[in-house]
């Protein structure tokens, strides 16, 4: 059932003199959620931009269904069924929500030979797809810039799910979201997996990752610091690896209270993640031993 969708082997990428990625490998099968974790600047976004066709790798190989590929543009990746929600390139703020939703995949009217946009159908589809994500937006003619950051992210995700055929890539989809929306997004992600898609989920948050992930890849300063199937690793180990062993004591101290309260109340993951990522940011200021 789970056939290989895409595979990266020994992939590297340099931006001028910055070595953003080095010798990274990742395999994605259908019906699988593969999580990529790492600190700020670890190279997560670079990795998915290569998969999505926005950048090209300098080293290693990238294969889809066994066939070596090198995408010249995101369009080529989209045409191979790879849909992406970017961290920094989500939407065009001044355009109405429905135009953003269909951007690059516009729906034409058959009567006009596909030339004329079927605006009413596009509006209705947009409304429906957003309603499914729990966003009740009546006026889809609003410029998308007037939505909140989380709502915008949801539009981008709904769009990728709607148009994504086989592979869905999400770059920190929950970073800007509240508890409820984070839960919705994670449910969406599992629904996509159950529908047979392969999902690459990028996150800072080991709790979110562990809730849904089947495989975990850790990046550290552009290199792979670990790659584990879910069966081989526990949440504690994952958190430990992410933090790096020496910072463990401090981290477990910082996480102690939130993780207690989680046991009682099920899904308070997101607000906790805010705390933990804030504390991680401040910790990064300190010299590493």
């Amino acid at each position: 059932m789970s056939s290989e969708l895409l595979a990266l082997k020994g992939v590297g990428k340099t931006y001028g003199t910055v070595r953003a990625l080095q010798d990274v490998s990742l395999t994605l099968r259908s019906g699988e959620i593969s999580c990529v974790l790492g600190d700020n600047g670890a190279g997560k976004s670079t990795l998915i931009k290569i998969i999505a066709g926005l950048h090209q790798h300098d080293e290693g190989s990238y294969t889809i269904g066994g066939e070596e590929v090198r995408f010249g543009s995101p369009r080529e990746a989209l045409d191979r069924g790879i849909a992406t929600v970017y961290q920094d390139l989500a939407v065009v703020p001044l355009m109405p929500v429905w135009r953003n939703f269909f951007l690059g995949s516009e729906q034409g009217m058959r009567r006009w030979g596909g030339l004329r946009l079927d605006a009413d159908a596009m509006r209705a589809t947009t409304r429906e797809a957003l309603a499914k994500m729990g966003i009740d937006l009546h006026d889809v003619d609003r410029p998308i810039g007037t939505l909140s950051g989380g709502q915008r992210q949801c539009v981008a995700i709904a769009r990728a799910v709607h148009f994504g055929a086989e592979v869905l890539i999400l770059d920190e989809p929950t970073a800007a979201l509240g508890v409820k929306q984070s839960g919705v997004v994670l449910k969406y992600v599992t629904a996509a997996r159950d529908a047979g898609l392969g999902v690459v989920l990028i996150t800072h948050n080991p709790h979110h990752a562990y809730l849904v992930g089947d495989h975990f890849t850790l990046l550290k300063r552009g290199r792979m610091a670990g790659s584990h199937p879910r069966a081989e690793i526990s949440l504690e180990q994952l958190t430990t690896e992410m933090a790096g062993g020496s910072d463990l004591a401090e981290l477990s101290h910082e996480l102690a209270r939130p993780s207690d309260s989680r046991n009682s109340s099920g899904s308070s993951g997101s607000s906790d993640s805010r705390n933990s990522s804030d504390s991680r940011d401040s910790r990064e200021e300190r010299p590493q031993p």
């Binding site: 999505a52 926005l54 543009s73 995101p74 369009r75 989209l78 992406t84 970017y86 390139l89 989500a90 939407v91 065009v92 703020p93 001044l94 355009m95 135009r99 269909f102 951007l103 690059g104 995949s105 516009e106 034409g108 030339l115 004329r116 946009l117 605006a119 006026d139 003619d141 410029p143 810039g145 007037t146 939505l147 909140s148 769009r159």
Partner: protein
Amino acid sequence: MSTPDLLVQDRPAALRRLLARPELGSLIAAVAVFVVFAVVAEPFLRVSSLGTVLYAASTIGIMAVPVSLLMIGGEFDLSAGVVVTTAALTSSMVSYQFTAVTWVGVLVSLVTTLAIGWFNGWMLGRTKLPSFIVTLGTFLMLTGANLGVTKAISGTVSTKSIADMQGFESCRWLFASEVTIGGLTVKATVWWWLGLLAIGSWVLLRTRFGNWIFAVGGDADAARAVGVPVARTKTVLYLGVGFGAWVLGQHLLFSFDTVQSGEGSGNELIYIVAAVIGGCLITGGYGSVAGSALGALIFGMASKGIIYAQWNPDWFKFFLGAMLLLAALLNAYVKRRAERGPR
């Protein structure tokens, strides 16, 4: 300051959307200019004056359509003024030098203006330089070439008359004829203008390509990331400017049958002003084609109204500049409204 905001928030969505429309400011301005000249200049309301105003507006409006589309797509074309002259010169000289049939010149001219548009778009995509620089380069090159080639071929700064050539009458009919409907004289450029307006507006608002225009002007990187061919979209917009220049250039040639090679320079700014008055955001991603028509109409009314009112025409440019600043401020305000968060 906050009172109008509160009022707007309380209004129904349809009205709020009307108030945020890019053309609204230019519509109000057009009505105001019309009323002012109707009051101060007695001849302004005559039917014959209406024909004159429409003609003046159409010669700007034909170019304002593609220029506004280009501006919504996030780019400028400073060569848009002189390329009109290039179109007229090419047509005239090809017909005169190589054949005795004006249609040949007309077609070669179309190929030439499209090639110039394509060059602008290609340079932009290739070099990633700002379009301001790229088209300033083509502007200067064409200004020089217009004069240089004309002088080299005809020995003077204007072309020879082609009025006796085969096809001249049919070309004149297409580009420079006029019909009188109940005392109102309508020049061919008005029909071209209305046609381009309808097509341009339809393409912008109702087609996939129109969606791409908004997107490449609003956020080119985001557009590229979802698969919009950004460079190709912009190149097509430059081709549109080339097409408009071709139409207007043929009009100039066939209404006067000779062309002055130094003309056209400076008009590119008027096209841009018309687009901005019509609600196009200078930074791209927002605006309307219909608005550019209102901008052209304001230009036509003001340039002729000042004469009918027997004011000193020197003040015309001053008026235009003031309109531009007001319009740009208004557009920035409308944009901020459109972008601002819900609460």
